[in-house]
């Protein structure tokens, strides 16, 4: 199968795949949107979905998998003992909850299921210039406009942007006017909590 035909086959098989993973969830299986896109010739560039990735909101969870829903489609994801999970820190599958946003990376199976190797849960990304920092919370003037509050996770790392080496002073070394980027977790109440911040020297 070439890539296009593979994805066509995957789309046709998706409903049965969900039923296979989640036999107790017929309503969800019935709402699966088949993949009919044909602009999938390459995994690089614009408009090119990659079968090794699935992202979306968790709408169903069972013992060994979940279904992710996005505006485009719904896709079943299988997990196993080797699947790695991140949700603010390294966690296990039990930490994934309905309504979480998941980015899953792995190996596509012939039935359309993604067998996940790595899963990021509620990961958020931000860029901006520091306005205030009290070592508990940072106020950022976002690069894209507006301001945002970013709390600091107990797992926070602060690194230098050029080589990702630990930054001297940690969070205390982040002063007003410094341009930073970062990742973190979006909490249930919608707040950002930074787990890693990088900054210029």
């Amino acid at each position: 199968l070439n890539r296009r035909n593979f994805l066509r086959a995957a789309g046709v098989g998706l409903g049965s795949a969900v039923a296979l993973l989640f036999p107790d969830l017929p309503a969800i299986a019935g709402t699966v949107v088949e993949t009919t896109r044909e602009t999938v010739a390459s995994s690089i560039g614009q408009g090119t979905p990659d079968a090794t990735y699935a992202g979306g909101t968790v709408i169903a969870i069972t013992r060994d998998g979940m279904v992710l829903s996005s505006a485009q489609t719904q896709r079943p994801v299988r997990v196993s003992a080797t699947t790695g999970f991140w949700k603010e820190t390294v966690v296990d599958f039990a930490a994934v909850q309905l309504g979480d946003h998941v980015d899953a990376f792995g190996v596509p199976e012939a039935n359309g299921v993604l067998h996940a190797a790595k899963v990021d849960v509620n990961l958020v990304r931000f860029d901006g210039i520091i306005e205030t920092n009290d070592a508990q919370r940072i106020t950022l003037r976002l690069t894209r406009g507006g301001t945002a509050q970013v709390a600091l996770s107990p797992f926070i790392e602060v690194v230098n942007v050029d080589d990702a080496s630990p930054r001297k002073g940690g969070v205390h070394g982040l002063s007003r006017g410094v341009l930073i980027g970062g990742v973190g977790v979006r909490t249930a109440d919608g707040q950002r909590r930074a787990t890693r911040i990088w900054a210029g020297r």
Partner: protein
Amino acid sequence: MTRYVGSASYFCCYPDPCGCDEGCCRGPDCSYLYCDQPTHATGACCTCNTFNWGYAWKSFCNTCCDTNLYENLSCGFQAWIGRADGSAWFQAPQVDHGPLTCVMVDLTKPLFAQLSPTGDLSPGIIPNIRFDTVSPG
């Protein structure tokens, strides 16, 4: 010729599709301002939305880049981005450059995750990334 060695990070386009730096593409549908300029290309936030799966990845310029990298490259210019040790390379269209970055390239999320030492996005910033304008091979 190696043009850049340093750190790279993904740029959050979706579900925040108009999050580009000042000077890139903006607007509620990411369809105007600089999107029609030949040096700003059609990628980055212009293509990141529910139905387009391109993601932009930027390499930081804060302290480590040669300003000669601020070239006017045509829309869709193909670049190579990969690990500095040459163990992984992906070709991708360059979509922008600017005061906060050396380059931005359109590379799918899974491919960028392959450059991550842990295979996922949670590290945020990835060191030891190389960007070339000619094939490393």
